[in-house]
Amino acid sequence: MRRNPRWIAYTLIFIGLLFIPRLFSIHDLMLFEYGLTFAIVGLGFNLLLGYTGLLSFGHGAYFAVGAYTVGMFAKYLPQAYSLELLIPAALFLSLVLSVIFGFLCVRHTKIFFSILTLSLSMLLYALLFKLYHITGGSDGLRVPLPTLLDMSFRGIRRPEFLSGTYYYFLLILFAVSCVIMRGIVSSPFGKALQAIRDNEVRAELIGIRVRRYRLYAFILSGMFVGLGGALWSFVNGHVTADLSHWVFSGEIVYMTLLGGFGIFEGPIIGAILFTYLKLYAMGNTQYWMFVIGATLIVLVLLLPNGVAGAIAVLLAKLKRKKALEGTTC
């Protein structure tokens, strides 16, 4: 496996990413970190959309759970406010929520599934918004700097924290997430999910328990998104109820479409592109929503397989051309 050119490329990219803090300004680096957290979210989301064929419009809920786990720990359990506890806690709570929501949602598919996920996430939104005394309501919760294995970052400003230890922490978790997700989608379990996506009836009739595996995919997906949410909260420094709003879930869908859900790397590319696209659109015009909307239309009409899909087609064409030239020479 290690000799596979894909893995060599991955390793080279990973090594390249290690040097990003030296190359980028702090502003760009923070954007890139937003991008990385969303990339983890995209990976999780795409397990459902790309590999299981379920379009969720409520994945903001799991993102919010991850982020709020961090916020709540800061408020109520400050003595346990360290990264090595916060990440497992966020994973666990997003697991719990996705088990409950998933159990209800996987009974349905297509638009019914989408609407159900959307409504459940809005339910969480309403709770986060209304329970002012617990969740801070529309003010949200502040996310101070955590500790990591006895390392305290007291007295350090957030930008320094983000460009130092935290970037590498994030990068490692991102790499681990990629490897695990890659393992999931290429395992027999992943093949079964793709079988369910392609043909539910036949999948059932080769002995795959369709609903059960949909639920497993849903849970795994929710956990990745929860992890992304927790990691995101440190970059952002603040969490609000909007994270569970369907508009935010829509952004997750959007970035996955932008990158291309048919390809493993698609959501990663999409997440990073989206972060920059949104910021520059917001910075340059107050009609940024228009820019995002117009891009979506262009995307759907011209690049149905997203940016990564277009690149893959281009690469395949180049390869064929080269092969043809090779034969004519």
Partner: protein, 247 residues
């Protein structure tokens, strides 16, 4: 091995399957013929668990499976193919078969390594494709296959589950006439090799007589005649109703 006892399924006033009794012995290839709407597909749907009967019993190796779920029947060894091909459209031919094997071995839950690492499963899948003369197409997706190949792949998937009884719903419908015998040859040779009992639903009498040990004629939900292919061919009622030949 399969005993169907007074099986009944009505859809409103339509008696799709009306008091059917039949038996299939081990290693036997039985064909069911009949006009459109005779209830052939309903019967297969009942045996495979896709539909539940109104009354009657289905026994498989003395086990009552009348109301068992499709999942249970597959585990027991009842596999089927479909008249309208049911494949995993975005996966390669190899993965179509391999997923069935993973499912059979319970590896979807237990297998944690990438699918390619389970080389024994991959080899078995290739072996099955070999039996059906399909191994040269293993990297293609179903969109790149001919109708006949799609049918064969559909059956290869059912076959991969090591079914003891295969139900083939119109294995050659939609296949170009010139390819029909080629398709049937690949299917039947693979089936014979493993000694799998098979129930084939078919329209085409040439195919039925060439490949089956026994023929059952259905008409309006009932069994009209039963016997060796050449006997059936000579049966006057069958000729009149099924083939429309009045002599």
């Amino acid at each position: 091995m399969l005993t169907v006892d007074n099986l009944k399924k009505h859809f409103g006033f339509v008696r799709a399957v009306d008091n059917i009794n039949l038996q299939i012995r081990e290693g036997e290839i039985v064909s069911i013929i009949g006009t459109n709407g005779a209830g052939k597909t309903t019967l297969v749907n009942l045996i495979s668990g896709y539909l539940k009967p109104d009354s009657g019993r289905i026994l498989f190796f003395d086990k009552d499976i009348t109301y068992a779920s499709p999942y249970v029947r597959i585990k027991l060894g009842v596999g089927r193919s479909f008249q309208l091909i049911q494949l995993f459209g975005n996966s390669t031919v190899l993965d179509n078969v391999r997923t069935a094997l993973f499912s059979k071995y319970g590896m979807i839950r237990k297998g944690l390594l990438p699918a390619d690492r389970y080389s024994s499963v991959t080899e078995e899948a290739i072996q099955i494709l070999n039996n059906f003369n399909m191994s040269d197409k293993k990297e293609l997706t179903p969109t790149g296959l001919s109708e006949g190949d799609l049918k064969i792949l559909d059956i290869a998937i059912a076959f991969a589950l090591k079914s003891k009884l295969l139900l083939l719903d119109e294995p050659t419908s939609g296949v170009a006439t010139s390819d029909k015998f080629k398709v049937m040859d690949s299917i039947v040779s693979a089936i014979k090799k493993e000694g799998v009992s098979t129930l084939i639903i078919e329209h085409d009498m040439d195919i039925v007589s060439g490949y089956s040990d026994r023929v059952i004629v259905m008409h309006e939900g009932r069994i009209m005649a039963e016997g060796k292919p050449d006997e059936i061919m000579e049966n006057r009622d069958v000729k009149a109703i099924v083939f429309g030949i009045v002599s």
